[in-house]
Structures are given as C-alpha cells and as structure tokens.
C-alpha cells in the first residue's frame, strides 16, 4: 500500500491551511456574539484597592463589566495545578490561590482584575481602558534567586519564603560518594533561559450559553479539549460535563502553551451565562506575550565526577525553578518528573541525586513548553559532558561513547527504565554525516577567513509517549494519561477515526489515516480523522509530550484489532471459510490462497444490513479502545552543530547541523522531518535568540517582536537528518515520538559548538552576538591576565 506506514504522503490537511480555508476559533462567529476585553494590572505586584467601572458601564454598547468578587461569588473555582508534587519532608506543595479574575491581590503585570463585555472588540477594549482600578503597589520579586532570599517579599500567604516545594530524587549519599571517589569533578552553574512560546495563532475562546438547555459550548484554542472540559467542570464549576461541550477546531500551534486552562476561557464561559450573550475573546500578540504561560527558567548547579578512564562516577544537581506568579496546570511536574528523571541522559551513571526547589515570582506563570523539563535535563547533562571532555582533554564523542548505556532494558537511578536504543549507532550516523573527521581542516580554513569555527555535540534522550496512568498516578498526576480511539467503518466501507489526540500542526489527519489505510488496504482518501470536539469524540487526553503517535495511534491500533476481528468473522461466515484463513489485502477481504473474496466495502455493508451475520453477532462495524501505555518511550539521538563566530561582532552562523534521531517506527518520514526541522528551529531560538526579560519592577521588556527575537529563516541553516531505528518494544507500532526532539537536542549542541569556537565555557543562552562578544572579551582579559 503506497500510502501506508513509511510513505511520504502529502498532508491531507494542507489544502485548507495553505489556501486560507482553515477554521480557527476566531473564525467562528455566532448570532448574538459579544466581545470580551480584560482589564489587566499594570503592576507586577499590588493590592487592588478599588475598581470603578461606572465610566465604562456608561459607554454605549457596553453590556457588562464583571469582576473577581462576582466570579467567586458565583462559585467559579480557583485555577489549579493538576499534579501534586510532595516535598522531601513529606509536605504537600504550596499552591497559592489563583482566581480567573483577581479579587484583592495582583501578582504579575497582566493579571486580570475585570472583564468588559461589549458589542464589538474595539469597544470592549476602549471600555476596558475606562475601568478605573486603584492599586496599592507592593515590592516586586522578579529573579529566581531572589525569591528564596531572606526578607524577600511574600507572594502567596501559604507559600512561606516563596517556596512551592523542595523535592528530591535519587540517593544523595550515593551521589556524594560517587563524587568523592572521582578522579575529576566537573562543576558548572547552568541557567536555562525563559521563553515565550509564540504559537502562530494566539489564544482565543468563544463561549456560548444556551439558557433554555442550560448548556455551554466553548470553542477554544486547546491541545486537549476533553481535559479542558474535565477541568472546567470538576474544578472551576462552570458546568457539569454533560452540559459542557468543548470544541478545539483548527489550532495554529501550541508547543504546550495551549494545554492549560487559562483565566480567559473560564471568564468567557461565566460571562456568557451572566450576560445572556455569546462571548468571544481573542488575544493579540501583545496580550500573548503578557499572559501565555512561559517555558523553562531554571538555575542549576551541577557536579559530575569521572574516574581515571572517564567513566562517570556520580552526578549531583541542585535546581531552582521559577514558576511565576501562579501554578499553571502541569507546572509542578515539569522540573521534577519531566526533568530530573532524565538526568542520567544516555549514560550509565550509578549515582545521581537531584534537588529541585520551585519558587514564586511576580512574572507570568511558567509551564511546559516544547520538550518540557527534558530540554533542561539534556542541556545540563550535555553541557557537563562537553565541558568535562575539555577539562579531561578527551574527545567529546569518545567521552560520551565510554559512558553510553549498551544494554536494554536499563534502569536509571532516577526511576526511568530505558527500553531500547542504540546510542553508539546514533553517534556513528551523526559523525559520519557531519564528517567530524574533517572538522580540523574546516576550522583551519575558517581561521584563514578570520572566523572562529567550533563543533558541539549533544546526545539527547527524552521520555515521551506520556504516560502509564498508574505510574504517573503514583507520582501525583491528577489524571490518567491513556488515549482513546474509535474506528468507525461506514456501510460504504469508508472509515472515520475518532481520536482523543488533537492535531495543531502535527499532521494527524494524514499519519493516522496512513495506518488505517495500510491495515484495511483501502485508499487513504477513504479515511477521515475526527478530533477536537467533546461531542463527537468519545474521550481523550490530548496532544503533548510527543504522545500522539506512541499513545494515540496505539489506541487506534487496538480499535482496529477489534474491527479486524469482526471483519474476519463476517467474511469467514459469508465466504464459508475459517476465520484464521481470512486476510485483508489488495482492497479485499479474502480467503488466503483462493479467489474467494469480498470487497472491503461489501463487508461494511454486510455488517450494517445485518441480513446474514454470524449467529449472535451485533450489527454494525465500529469499535472503540482505550490504550494505556506500559512505559514511557525513549527517543534518543545525537546532534552535531558546527558554527562560525565573527570575533569582531560576536555574530554566530550555524554552518552545519546534523541530527541523527532514533524515533522507532516512522509513519510518514516527511512529517517527521518537518517536526525535527521545527524542533531544531525552536532549539536554535532558545540557544541563540530568544529570552524573556523583565525589568526590576516586573515589567516585561520583551513584549513584542521588536525585542523578543523569534527565529527567522535566515537565522537557520539547512539540516542534515539521519535516522537510526530501534523499535520501541512497548507499543504495537514500535513508535517513540518525534515532536520535541529537536527542541531538546539542539540547544546544548549549539552552545557546545560556540564555546568550542570561542575557547571559553562561560556562555549563557541566548548566545546573542552581544553575549558571545562579551564572552570573548572576558576570555581575552582572562588570557591576558595569565
């Protein structure tokens, strides 16, 4: 089957996207639609003294101005973090109250205190400016390190010292012993910069309240509409689940930022009930910078010990993670179970200990962003490895090879069990493709042109296919992380796949159809993928953590297994053959080795006519399945960057970039390559361009593209992509996931390459021209002083 697994099928969804026919939340207009605009705190930290909405309410076309007291008075619940992380002393995490509309206390610049509902968007915004809020300013806390300082201003009453939790993993004594026994210890302070996710489509919500039915419909930019419905219903008391339909139509990118339930969706739903009007809110780019959950923002110190041969004897990490002003939906899990559990990297390390403290600051909430915890782990481990290689005078590839895990399954001291991999094979492919042997000659040639050329490695591993429900439940997750699918064969033989995964750029409508086309031997055009609507799709947990292949498609496979079994029963009955002899191939369901066959659609028709089914068989041909993974999956690979630095300006050009990935089975190589390209672009963004900055007063300095540097085409090189496949043994298709790899593996490769070029390890992300030039100046001053 030419459109099956492994085929470069062009994306079915692209016709509507590239012809401008996609239907996004803001494209949806309903009768009686009004518009919301939020009144936001200009201060990063303040008490709300009073809100005077009289001027705004008097404006023609203003329907209502609503505030937090009314919202909580109506029983709308506080926004929660859904993963309970317990401190090492056994105490629960300190979750501060977060109301969708602040009542007495605002904690970051942009915190919403009121909402205006008006007849037009521009009118709503004008009226929002006319709402007069009196604030009493409080001292502001911005920096991660300052949060834990004595005397720091208290952001939430129930989080003394701004500490959310103080958590650990691994064996501290064993790690100390490993370091004590080391012949060499590499020690670094590592900062992981704060990022703004910037999906192309900003967040949007359209809430519709049907008063007669007391039923709500929410169109929203969500990566997981069922989770949104569950949380909106169970925690925010907007409406019971059977009275709430959540639709995430076409969604233009998420990168994690659209997993969470934000104040705006909650407020729109509530306001639609309050005003009797449908309420639409669409963020503009400025509002997105100000309110979309940011990513990363860690400060770590790390020590890695090596024996005389270069084998790692121990790793000890101390990390502080900045959560911003409130705990967003998955925030707690990111610097713990998605980060510290990956600190073993691809290496056989017997002794690891990590301590993680999470803190509040007066900044936008921080949560998962493409990679989510795993980029932080990879960046730390891979910068340590490269730095250690320099300190030990060893080839960085060789030092990694000495320490690579060779046998699987491999249990790490940080609770992961790697199931399959070929780390040397990844390195072989990457080194061959990058021609690392030829690097010295290229470096010399660059030097003749006045350029500093450097090479940097990154051997990343990630835990994807999130996640086994019982395992994450034991670690504090508030949900199960299975996926659900329904496979519906119509009487004419066409197939609809109803999936709980959500596509917001991933190409599910194509890849999911490919596995169905292959399995049932039908044209891919005859397969339709339905997702993103809680009224259509039975249930689902959504798309994040590179889970739609390994978990979402596995659920489809399970449902297809059931369909196939029934198809074979029907065909065996009709063709008077044994079930075991029935095969599906060439568009037919036939008796193997004979010319006795039914066309695929004839089986579908037979199932629905039900004129001649096996005795006791129910009519119809549709099956559902829930798939709960038995383990995480472990994509891994080696990335090699080569850069040239202009020493006069610090400008760095990526002249070569090689990615050798092991994603397990690949359904559509073209789509996988697209995911890797996009991931690398975001990785380059983090490494060289992007960084959120606040001033001391908590005002966002990088609030637009004038100051926040998004990667552009001319910032990026052409990539050389290689694949090395070890099949994942734990899911039916053998898939591992590819959505986050680029964003995880790229930053350390780039920074390792730049630091190699400039001859100093002291360089933080983003390595802007200014930062690289500064590092060069510092290094030359240091050299001169020697």
């Amino acid at each position: 089957m030419s459109d099956g697994i492994g085929a470069r099928v062009k994306r079915k969804e692209d016709k509507r996207f590239i012809t401008g026919k996609g239907k996004y939340t803001d494209d949806i207009r309903v009768d009686n639609q009004a518009y919301a605009a939020f009144v936001r705190s200009p201060h990063a930290h303040a008490k709300v003294v009073s809100i005077d909405a009289s001027g705004a309410e008097a404006m023609e076309g203003v329907l209502a101005v609503l505030n937090g007291a009314q919202l909580t008075g109506d029983g709308i619940g506080n926004i929660i973090c859904g993963w309970a992380v317990t401190s090492k002393d056994g105490s629960p995490m300190n979750m501060g109250a977060w109301s969708a509309l602040a009542t007495e206390h605002v904690r970051y610049a942009g915190d919403a205190v009121a909402v205006v509902i008006a007849e037009s968007q521009s009118l709503a915004r004008l009226a929002a400016e006319a709402v007069e809020v009196e604030y009493e300013e409080l001292p502001v806390l911005v920096s991660t390190l300052d949060a834990l300082a004595d005397g720091a201003v208290q952001i939430h009453e129930n989080a003394p010292g701004n500490l959310i939790y103080d958590w650990e993993i691994g064996d501290a004594a064993a790690a100390d012993a490993g370091l004590a026994a080391a012949a060499h210890v590499t020690e670094m302070e590592i900062t992981n910069n704060r990022l703004s996710p910037n999906p192309m489509e900003p967040r949007s919500a359209l809430a519709i309240h049907d008063e007669a039915e007391d039923h709500y419909t929410l169109y929203t930019t969500s990566q997981n509409p069922h989770v949104a419905r569950l949380v909106l219903s169970a925690f925010y008391n907007v409406a019971p689940e059977h009275k709430l339909r959540v639709i995430a139509p076409d969604v233009g990118g998420g990168f994690g930022s659209k997993i969470y339930i934000y104040p705006e969706e909650i407020t729109c739903l509530w306001a639609s009930m309050k005003t009797g009007r449908s309420v639409k809110w669409t963020s503009d780019r400025s509002e997105a910078f100000l309110t979309d959950a940011h990513g990363r923002d860690h400060i770590s110190t790390a020590k890695m010990g090596f024996d005389a041969e270069g084998r790692i004897t121990g790793l000890k990490v101390d990390t502080i993670a900045n959560f911003g002003a409130y705990m967003s939906l998955f925030s707690s899990a990111v610097p713990t179970y998605l980060y510290a559990t990956l600190l073993s990297g691809q290496y056989n390390i017997a002794n690891i200990h990590a301590n993680v403290r999470a803190v509040y600051t007066n900044t936008v909430p921080v949560d998962a962003y493409r990679g989510a915890g795993r980029p932080e782990a990879c960046y730390l481990v891979e910068r340590m490895m490269e730095t250690a290689a320099r300190e030990l005078g060893k080839d960085p590839a060789e030092l990694r090879r000495i320490n690579f895990i060779q046998e699987f399954p491999h249990e790490t001291p940080v609770i992961m069990t790697y199931d399959a991999g070929d780390f040397d094979g990844n390195m072989d492919k990457a080194q061959a493709a990058a021609d690392t042997a030829g690097f010295p000659a290229r470096k010399a040639e660059a030097a003749a042109r006045g350029k500093l050329r450097g090479i940097g490695y990154s051997a990343y591993i990630e835990a994807c296919g999130i996640a086994p429900s019982a395992a994450v439940g034991s670690l504090g997750a508030g949900v199960g992380l299975w996926e659900s699918a329904e496979v519906r064969v119509n009487p004419v033989g066409t197939v609809e796949i109803l999936t709980g995964s959500h596509s917001h750029g991933q190409g599910h409508e194509t890849t999911f159809a490919q596995i169905v086309a292959e399995r049932f031997s039908i044209p891919i055009e005859n397969v339709q993928v339905v997702h993103g609507d809680t009224d259509k799709v039975q249930f689902g947990m959504g798309t994040y953590g590179s889970r739609s292949g390994a978990v979402g498609m596995s659920a489809i496979v399970k449902a297809m297994d059931k369909v196939e079994a029934k198809v074979k029963k029907i065909a065996a009955h009709t063709l008077e053959a044994s079930e075991e002899d029935i095969v599906i191939e060439g568009g037919e369901v036939k008796v193997a080795g004979t010319d006795k066959a039914m066309a695929w659609h004839e089986v579908g028709l037979a199932a629905y006519l039900a004129h001649n089914l096996p005795e006791g068989m129910e009519p119809g041909l549709k099956e559902g399945a829930f798939y709960d993974p038995v383990n995480f999956t472990f994509p891994a690979g080696v990335y090699i960057a080569e850069v040239e630095v202009d020493p006069e300006t610090g400008v760095t050009e990526i002249v070569q970039f090689t990615a050798a990935d092991d994603f397990g089975t690949i359904i559509n190589p073209m789509i996988v390559e697209g995911q890797v390209h996009g991931g690398i672009a975001q990785g380059v963004g983090q490494a060289m361009l992007e960084g959120v900055h606040y001033d001391q007063d908590g005002q966002l300095l990088t609030g637009s593209y004038m100051d926040y540097t998004m990667p552009r085409a001319d910032d990026l090189p052409s990539y050389t992509l290689e694949h090395n496949t070890t099949v994942c043994p734990n899911n039916p298709l053998g898939m591992k996931g590819c959505g986050e790899a680029g964003a995880i593996g790229t930053p350390p490769a780039i920074i390792n390459a730049i630091t190699d070029a400039i001859g100093t390890n002291d360089l933080a992300m983003p390595a802007t021209p200014h930062a690289v030039w500064r590092a060069l100046q510092a290094a030359s001053v240091a050299t001169a002083a020697e």
Binding site: L126, A130, T649, L689, H693, L701, T702, Y705, D707, Y708
Partner: protein, 265 residues
C-alpha cells in the same frame, strides 16, 4: 476617545492648511511608525493628513551636483532608482536594507527623516552625505534638522518636501541589525564629500544620529578600513539596552566603520 479624521489633500497648501487648523494633526507619509502607535493607543491624533496624494512630493531627479528625492518616495523606489544606483550606490544599498519588502514599498524617506527614530537608517545617510532637508518653509542642513531622539527642527505645520543629497566622491554604509527588530543597532555611513570626510552613526547614540569626529579625522588622513579601525570609540553617550550595552555598541561603531569604508572600495 481615539477618534481620528483622515485627510488626503492633493496640494501642499491644502495639507498645511489642515495642519494649521487642527488641534493635534499628524502627517502620514508611509505610516510605519504612526499607524502601529495609533493601534496601540499610544498616539491619538485628531487628524491624520496623508500627503501621499500630493504629486510634486514624489520622485527622484538630478539637480546640478545633487540628487533630489521627493519626501513621499518609497524606500523601494530609492533602492531601485538607476539614478541613485549610479550616483550614490551606498544610498540605494541603505534603502534596500530597510525593513522588509512590505516596509520598503510603503515607507518613505520623508516619513523616516521626520520621525527621526534613533535606529532608522536614513538619518545616517542624510547626515553622512551632508544632505539638505527641503521643507514647506525653508531649507535645513541635516546638522540643524536632527534634534535628538524622535525630535527634529520641524514646526507643527511644516512638511518635508524633498531631500537634496550632494553627490559624494565615495560613500559606504554598514549596518549591524538588532537581532529582534532588525533596525540598526549600529549603522555607520561614511562619505568623501567636497567638504571633507563625513561619518554619521545611527542606532547607537542616546541623542539619535551623530557625526563622529574621531573617525572623520582618521579617515580624512587616510581613507582606509585600517584607519577607521585604529580609532578608539568611547562608549560615553551610547545606548545600553538588553540587546547590547554601550561598550558593545562602541565596538560595533568601530567594526561597522571599517566595513563601511571597505564597502566603498
């Protein structure tokens, strides 16, 4: 609250009359600064006077030893002009490097100079070439026109009509773009003119575009990249922001000066 009346007069006299008679009018020549500022509610002019319908404010011609560019001539028109390309390729190159194609086809030279953004390119060319700014009232040498960040000598009811660039013996421009905005973080325009070597720096100064005496003196002695590179650049009076501090900008002035001189050759 943000009501604005839009006008599109077809004569300079009508435009000036509108400016004189309204409370707080703004001239629209391309709109790349004005319109975003209005959209963000940071400006709320009572009237917007669009001067792009005035015929004699537009176009490029030669007048004796000068190139005269009408105020509403777009960056793309300057970049593509055969006259500019032959008489002052550095000016065409500068125009070709402003913003992106959409910006270059709407933004105008008069709009850019009247706005005097400290990171804009054209002020460097005007000051570096010793241009004359021709307005509805008078003619101003570039030195007298620029008056600090976003400030010029223009009166409220005064409109730039044209810019007269004297032909230089040689000229070059080198820009270091801000990684985010791609505006000039530092742009250096060097020119050998009848009045001597002139070096104008944009993007770096706390008071906007300025001439650099040290670079001018060195290049007057020997017009070479090495001579430019030998000049120590003081960070005093230079901008510091999250994209680069004053010392980095000082370094970039040195590097861009060298590259601008190199571009001449």
């Amino acid at each position: 609250m943000y009501q604005t009346k839009y006008h599109k007069p077809d004569s300079l006299e009508a435009a000036i009359a509108l400016l004189s008679s309204s409370d707080e009018a703004k001239v629209l020549a391309g709109g790349h600064t004005l319109l975003p500022t209005m959209k963000n509610h940071l400006a709320a002019p009572s009237d917007v006077v669009d001067i792009r319908g005035i015929a004699n404010l537009h176009g490029i011609c030669e007048d004796g030893g000068s190139i005269v560019i009408g105020a509403t001539t777009t960056h793309a028109e300057v970049a593509d002009s055969a006259l500019v390309l032959s008489a002052c390729p550095a000016l065409a190159c500068l125009a070709a490097g402003i913003g992106d194609p959409a910006v270059r086809h709407a933004g105008t030279i008069g709009g850019s100079l009247a706005n005097n953004d400290p990171a804009a390119d054209y002020p460097a060319a005007a000051l570096g070439l010793g241009a004359t700014i021709v307005t509805s009232q008078r003619e101003l040498p570039a030195e007298d026109f620029f008056d600090g960040m976003f400030t010029t000598a223009l009166e409220d009811d005064e409109i730039i009509t044209a810019i007269r660039f004297p032909k230089a013996e040689a000229a070059g421009y080198a820009k270091f773009p801000n990684p985010a905005s791609r505006y000039a973080m530092v742009g250096v325009f060097v020119a050998k003119t009848s009045g001597g070597v002139r070096v104008a720096v944009t993007g770096a100064g706390e008071d906007g575009v300025f001439r650099h005496d040290g670079l001018e003196a060195a290049l007057a002695g020997e017009f070479s990249p090495e001579a430019a590179g030998s000049v120590g650049i003081s960070p005093d009076g230079l901008l510091s922001d999250l994209h680069g501090d004053a010392e980095y900008r000082a370094n970039l002035i040195s590097v861009m000066a060298k590259r601008a001189v190199k571009a001449v050759a």
